[in-house]
Symmetry: C2
Subunit: 266 residues, 2 copies
């Protein structure tokens, strides 16, 4: 529990002290109440959020990694976070998956818990602290995958309604067959849920994966329709895509403002 005193205009509360896990509000001398960040889905933080989405094999992780390197080389304050990486529920997720204990609802909720943990304790505090946060997969991965598993789309959307929209959301678009070939060419061992085997579409992991990815692809299409997705043609050379991505980031974000040294010396 943080104790301190700082005026802030956050959500119209007076005497607010933002801290990593939420807001502590001074009730009386020495006594602070704790509030979550839940009700602040609009951006306007000092930091910027850049997220990448796309099918497995779309090359999005490579692209966001190259962005990270590029920004670090410019001494920008950067924080990188990836899907399904919170330590809080890591073991529960692993156990649930291994023992096939997860229903679509608990699969959805355990991933939401993972995301919320990273969101409350990393993403949001760092956006507040003026970092450029890079997210390899964001809530759209959950919206797509959960919908494929038959979970009500509106329910999942509401579930993730606490999360701010990215300032830039790249969608790396490849034809389904291209992404499938990229992943399956080496005949890798596919994990049970990764292949969508929990859905019973096919007993063959490769066939199941194809069906699963096809459905995820359709969900991404559905999600991208209302706009907001910056579509990148991910069939092209890596460096061609990266140039386009960097250009767009430079256009939309004043990178000079995020440099730890040499602010203004671009």
């Amino acid at each position: 529990m943080s104790v301190g005193r700082r005026e802030s205009e956050d959500r119209g509360m007076g005497g607010v002290w933002p801290e990593a896990m939420g807001l502590s509000v001074c009730i009386r001398d020495g006594i602070w109440a704790f509030y979550p960040f839940m009700t602040a889905p609009q951006s306007g933080y000092p930091g910027k959020l850049i997220a990448v989405e796309g099918l497995d094999g779309s090359g999005k992780s490579t692209q966001i990694y190259l962005v990270k390197r590029w920004l670090e080389n410019q001494n920008c304050r950067v924080y990188f976070t990836e899907w399904n990486s919170s330590v809080l529920v890591k073991k529960a997720t692993s156990k649930g998956k291994k023992r096939h204990l997860l229903t679509p609802t608990t699969f959805s909720l355990i991933h939401a818990t993972d995301f919320a943990d990273r969101y409350d304790r990393q993403i949001l505090p760092l956006l507040r602290a003026g970092f450029i946060v890079l997210a390899d997969r964001y809530i759209y991965t959950a919206l797509a995958r959960d919908a494929v598993r038959g979970v009500d789309r509106e329910w999942v959307k509401e579930l993730y309604s606490f999360a701010v929209k990215p300032d830039i959301l790249f969608y790396f678009r490849v034809p389904l067959e291209v992404s499938l070939n990229r992943i399956l060419d080496g005949r890798p061992e596919l994990k049970y849920h990764e292949a969508g085997l929990d859905m019973g579409w096919s007993a063959d992991p490769y066939e199941s994966f194809r069906i699963f990815q096809g459905k995820v692809f359709e969900e991404y299409q559905r999600l991208s329709e209302p706009g907001g997705f910056v579509q990148v043609d991910a069939t092209r050379e890596i460096h061609t895509q990266q140039e386009e991505v960097r250009r767009l980031i430079s256009d939309r974000i004043d990178l000079a403002a995020f440099r730890t040294a040499g602010r203004g010396w671009s």
Copy 2:
């Protein structure tokens, strides 16, 4: 993954096979798709759900235990489930609490995961199988506690929207002071979250617990207003309350229909 063939009218789907974790729908010969129970919040199952809610110290656990005994002695098919008891996230919850890693949002989500796990794999399958399910605390505990922790009430309500409403929901109502005295008289060791210490209202666990319970009490009042709660005056003798509870259950549920032996021989 269950494979089978049974016609069912569930949700207007044809060829549906209900199983413990959801619905598997035959797509083509031998291939079954899996659907969650999420979109069926209305009752109408062969079983009945009886839930008890109330403050710590309201005596609700004693009352539901006596109901369980009473029903078992009549050879009724009974299943008992209690709050925060799923093995799926037990360790994660315990670790998160111990290390004070939980934010109000993740606190809420991890309890929702716990509930959803019990719901999908126990409560709903048993309601479908014609059991009387007894729940010591139900979603209203989450609605009350999460609201007290500052989580948006509408968000939590939506989060638990997949859960059926109980056929009978008892609310054991005691004045706040009575419940506090019952709990605190022995000066028990209060756990960090149990006492609401994560909220920083007071550094003294007993004082914090009083504040926390007072707020939960207010939330219960708010929840009970739209009706649906059967209010039981829980200041009375245990047997007096139990008589009233049993009478109400007998009035509303045809218990003879739930007897494993001697159906109709009451």
